[in-house]
Subunit: 380 residues, 2 copies
C-alpha cells in the first residue's frame, strides 16, 4: 500500500465512483521493482512476464526502462510492440504455440522461441526458419508456494535430443530454460536447477551443440502475509550458483519476473456485502465480498495465495472468518479450510484493501460470470 494509492482511492470515493471493486496499481513501485532486479542481477536480461499484468501503462513504463518481454501469445507480442519494445527484446515464451501463431510472430520480427519437444521444434523450423530456440526442462519446484505441474518442460536427457533436432532443422540451439515454481521463497532454489542446466550444456557440447543462454525463469516472490527475502539475496545466491556450476564460462542469462515485478504494486479495494452465520452455534462468521474467484482472485484456488487484507478496524480484536465471493457459485469461496482472521467490528458496507494484488488478477477476471463486470483497473 502506498500513499499514492491511498490518495487515489480517497479521490475516487469523493467523486462517488466507489461502487465496484477495483485494482489500483502504483507504477512507481513497478519502476522500483525493475531497478531492484536490474541491480541484483546486473548480468541478466529482464524479460517481464506480460501475463502477470499486461496493462499498457505497465508495459510502456518497463519498455522505457529497457526491459525485455516474455510473451505467451501473439496478442501479448503485439502489446509489447505497441508499448515500444523492439522485436529483439521479445521472446515467444509459451511452449504451446499454433504453427500459424509462430508464423505471425516471425512476421512481426520475433526470433526467440521456447520449445519443450521435437514436434514444437518442427513447427518453429517451418514457420520461423533460422530462429533461436531454448528448451524448457522439467524441475520439481521444492519450496515454492505454488509448485508447478509437469505441464511445461521435458526431462533433461530429452532436452539434448530436442536441441539436436533444432540444430539439424536449421534453428539456432540457443539454450535452456527452467522454472523454480511461482512465489519461490527459497533463495537457493536456483542452485539445483542451474546444476541441471549445466549438465545439459555439457551433454550438448559432447554432441557438438554449443549452447549460449540459460533462461532462469520467474518465481521471484511478492510479499503476501509472510515476509519474503529481498531480490538482492536472490541475485547473490543465483550468481554463486552460476559460478559453481558453470565455472568461468558463465552463459548469457535471462530472468522472467512477473509476480515479483508487479505483485506488490497493486491493491484491490472491495466491499463487504454480507456478514452472517449458518446457525446460532457457529463459531465462524461468513464474510462475503464483492470480488471473488471469478472477479480476479483466481489465485486463491486451493487457498494457495493468502493475501494480506486491511480494513479501518485494524488493531481491533480478530475473529476467524470464511471469506467468499459474490457469485451464486458454491466454489467461489476464497478461504475456508483455513479461516481468515478479520476484525470482530467489521460491518456490512465496510471497504477492505487486499494487498499484493498487482499480479494475476485483472486478466484472470471472468468476462461476465453471474452478470458481474470484469475487475476495473487503474494504473497510476
Amino acid at each position: 500500500m502506498t500513499e499514492r494509492i491511498r490518495e487515489f482511492l480517497r479521490d475516487r470515493r469523493a467523486k462517488g465512483l466507489d461502487v465496484e471493486p477495483c485494482l489500483v496499481v502504483d507504477l512507481e513501485v513497478v519502476r522500483d521493482n525493475f531497478m531492484h532486479f536490474a541491480k541484483a542481477l546486473p548480468d541478466s536480461r529482464v524479460f517481464y512476464a506480460i501475463k502477470a499484468n499486461p496493462a499498457p501503462e505497465v508495459l510502456s513504463l518497463l519498455a522505457s526502462l529497457g526491459s525485455c518481454f516474455d510473451c505467451a501469445s501473439v496478442q501479448e507480442i503485439q502489446m509489447a510492440l505497441a508499448a515500444g519494445a523492439t522485436p529483439d527484446r521479445i521472446s515467444f515464451g509459451n511452449t504451446i504455440k499454433k504453427e500459424r501463431d509462430i508464423a505471425r510472430a516471425y512476421e512481426l520480427g520475433i526470433r526467440l522461441f521456447s520449445v519443450d519437444c521435437t514436434p514444437e521444434v518442427e513447427k518453429v523450423a517451418r514457420a520461423a526458419p533460422g530462429s533461436k530456440v531454448f528448451c524448457r526442462i522439467l524441475y520439481d519446484c521444492a519450496g515454492a508456494e505454488w509448485p508447478l505441474s509437469r505441464k511445461f518442460g521435458c526431462d533433461p536427457e530429452m532436452a539434448v535430443d530436442v536441441l539436436d533436432n533444432a540444430k539439424r532443422l536449421g534453428l539456432e540451439a540457443y539454450g535452456i530454460s527452467f522454472h523454480v515454481g511461482s512465489q519461490q521463497r527459497k533463495v537457493k532454489a536456483w542452485d539445483r536447477a542451474l546444476a541441471m542446466a549445466a549438465q545439459v550444456f555439457r551433454d550438448c557440447a559432447e554432441r557438438g551443440i554449443s549452447l549460449s543462454m540459460v533462461n532462469m525463469g520467474g518465481g521471484f516472490p511478492t510479499k503476501y502475509l509472510k515476509e519474503v527475502p529481498p531480490v538482492v539475496q536472490y541475485g547473490r545466491s543465483i550468481f554463486r550458483a552460476l559460478r559453481k556450476h558453470f565455472g568461468n564460462q558463465i552463459p548469457e542469462t535471462i530472468i522472467e519476473p512477473g509476480r515479483g515485478m508487479v505483485g506488490n504494486a497493486g491493491v484491490i479495494e472491495t466491499e463487504v456485502v454480507l456478514i452472517s452465520k449458518k446457525s446460532d452455534e457457529d463459531d465462524v462468521r461468513w464474510v462475503y465480498l464483492d470480488i471473488g474467484k471469478f472477479g480476479g482472485l483466481a489465485e486463491t484456488m486451493d487457498e494457495s495465495i493468502r493475501y494480506a487484507i486491511k480494513s479501518r478496524h485494524d488493531g481491533a480484536e480478530m475473529t476467524p472468518c470464511v471469506l467468499a465471493g459474490p457469485t451464486c457459485d458454491s466454489a467461489d469461496v476464497l478461504y475456508e479450510k483455513m479461516p481468515y482472521p478479520l476484525p470482530v467490528t467489521l460491518e456490512i458496507g465496510d471497504k477492505l484493501l487486499i494487498e499484493g494484488t498487482g499480479a494475476y488478477t485483472s486478466t484472470y477476471s471472468s468476462v461476465a460470470f453471474n452478470g458481474f463486470p470484469p475487475l476495473a483497473t487503474y494504473h497510476i
Copy 2:
C-alpha cells in the same frame, strides 16, 4: 451434438473462420429441454438460472416459451427484462446482495428475493419494502457430482427465525429454497430436502407464519460421459416426495434448472495445438488444446466435470492422455489425475468437439488471460 451444429461448423470452416475455439449452442435443444421440464413438473414454475448461459438468444427463447428467470445480479435482471420477461417472472436469487442492488432491483419491479440470514432480510426490508422473501436452507448434497459448499443457506432451525424476522419487518415470508447439488444424478435426492422443507413449514406455522412456496433449486444434470436419468423420472420422484411430505397441502413450487436447460445444447470446437511426451519412457501423452480452464472450461476444476470429447478418429485405438490448455499457467490442466483416453492417431491441428458445454462455459471465460480472447459463441 446435433446436425444443425455440425452444419454450422462446416459452414464456418468453409468461410475460413475456424481459427479460434468456439461454442455453438443449438436453440432447438434448449426449446426441447424447456418443454421436458414443463411436462415433467407441470405444477412447478421454471425459473431458468441465467448464470448457466446468459446469451440474449437463450433468454429471448425462454421468455417467449413462458419461462421465469433466476437472477444472480442486477445485470442479469436487466438481461431478463431485455429478453421480454416481466418483473413478476424474475427472482433475485442470490443470497448475497448489496443493499443498493436490492434497491435497483426493486425500482425495476422485482418483488421476489432470496435470503439466508437476518442481516440480508434487513437489507431487503429497507430497500424493497413489502417484497416476498424465501429463505435458503443448507442441505448436504449427497450424490451430486458437484456437491455444494456451505456457502449458501442456513440451518433449518435458523430459517424459522429468519422468516419470522422478515414478517416482523413487513416482508412476506414466502417460502423455503434448497439446492440438492449440481449435476445431481440421483432422482430421489429431493426427497430428504423436501422433508426438511416440510418441517420448516410446520415450525413456521407454529409461529404463526404461513409459508406458500418451495423453491426446489437446480441440480438437474446434463449428459457428460455417463448417462443421466430423463427429466420425467425426476418429475415423478419429486411429485411423490411432495405428496409424502406435504400430504394434500402441496405448496406452490419453483425449479431453477441451469445446466439441465442448456448443457447438452452446446458444443465447443477446439484445436489440438501440441502432442508431446515429457520423456522417452513416458506412457502418457500430453495433448494441449487451444481452450483450457481460463478460456471457458473452468468446471474441469479438480477434474469435477468430465466432458465427452469427439474427433474424426473416433473408433481408432485409444491411449491415455493428459489434457491441458494453451496458457503459460501450470494450473491450466484439464485432466491429469485421471488421464483422458484419446485416439492414438490424433494429430496436431486436429479439431476436437467437446460436448455438453452449453452451460457454465462462455461467461466463465477470462477477459484476456495470456492475451487470449474470450470464448467466441454462436447461438443458432
